[in-house]
């Protein structure tokens, strides 16, 4: 069983389109995250949700809108895609909102904007 699963794994789309990436975790964790990894492999947190409540928003453009229908799901919707949005997006989860808990990552979604 995959602990943190995200879809799609690969996504190629044109500038200006709107796309979504879905994420689900079956670990029973309270907290979920979206991280962005750029071409230099640098990992940066975008959002964090705890029990469906947004707790971290790292100055991400408004075009990015996370949605958490329940604590096991955290989807990422991106409007008006730009070339600079091309990156790998990782969903992750941890037991709760406190640091000191291991963060478990999904396999990543490779987004290419052309």
């Amino acid at each position: 069983d995959t602990a943190v699963s995200q879809t799609p794994k690969y996504l190629v789309t044109q500038m200006g389109n709107d796309k979504s990436i879905k994420c689900e975790q079956n670990l029973g964790h309270d907290t979920m995250y979206w991280y962005k990894q750029d071409s230099k492999k640098f990992l940066k947190i975008m959002f964090s949700y705890n029990n469906k409540e947004l707790i971290i928003n790292e100055t991400v453009p408004n075009r990015f809108s996370p949605k958490s229908p329940d604590k096991a799901h955290l989807n990422l919707h991106i409007n008006s895609l730009e070339l600079g949005d091309s990156a790998v997006y990782f969903c992750a989860s941890s037991q709760d909102r406190n640091s000191g808990n291991t963060i478990y990552f999904g396999e990543g979604s490779w987004l290419t904007v052309v």
Binding site: K41, I45, S48, N98, E107
Partner: protein, 113 residues
């Protein structure tokens, strides 16, 4: 701002040798540190963690050392194997509500057969 960084961008080692990957952190308030391994095409995987009340922690073939005086963290891999080839990240955090992990730049470990 605070940052976490790695001294070397790439590390090449002979199979069977020991590997040492180093990391410097600058947030003196950090009390929790994790090493992650990311294989090509996959997400980061937890390797080992250490809290600031410890200097050393051992796992299977891996050891993490923490030197709070100089804000330095290292990951030692014993008898490096081809399967250890990956990008390694150190991450730091401060225990508390809504805390977040800050990741350093990755370092590529390449194992020569």
């Amino acid at each position: 701002g605070e940052s976490v960084g790695l001294h070397l961008p790439t590390l090449s080692v002979q199979e069977g040798d020991n590997s040492i990957i180093n990391c410097a952190y600058s947030n003196s308030a950090s009390d929790y540190f994790i090493w992650y391994k990311q294989e090509s095409g996959k997400g980061p995987q937890f390797i080992i963690d250490i809290r600031s009340n410890m200097d050393k922690r051992q796992g299977q073939r891996v050891t993490v050392l923490l030197n709070k005086t100089v804000k330095h963290l290292s990951l030692q891999i014993a008898a490096t194997q081809p399967g250890d080839s990956a990008v390694y990240f150190c991450a730091e955090g401060v225990t508390g509500a809504n805390s977040k992990l800050t990741f350093g730049k990755g370092i590529t470990l390449s194992v020569r057969p």
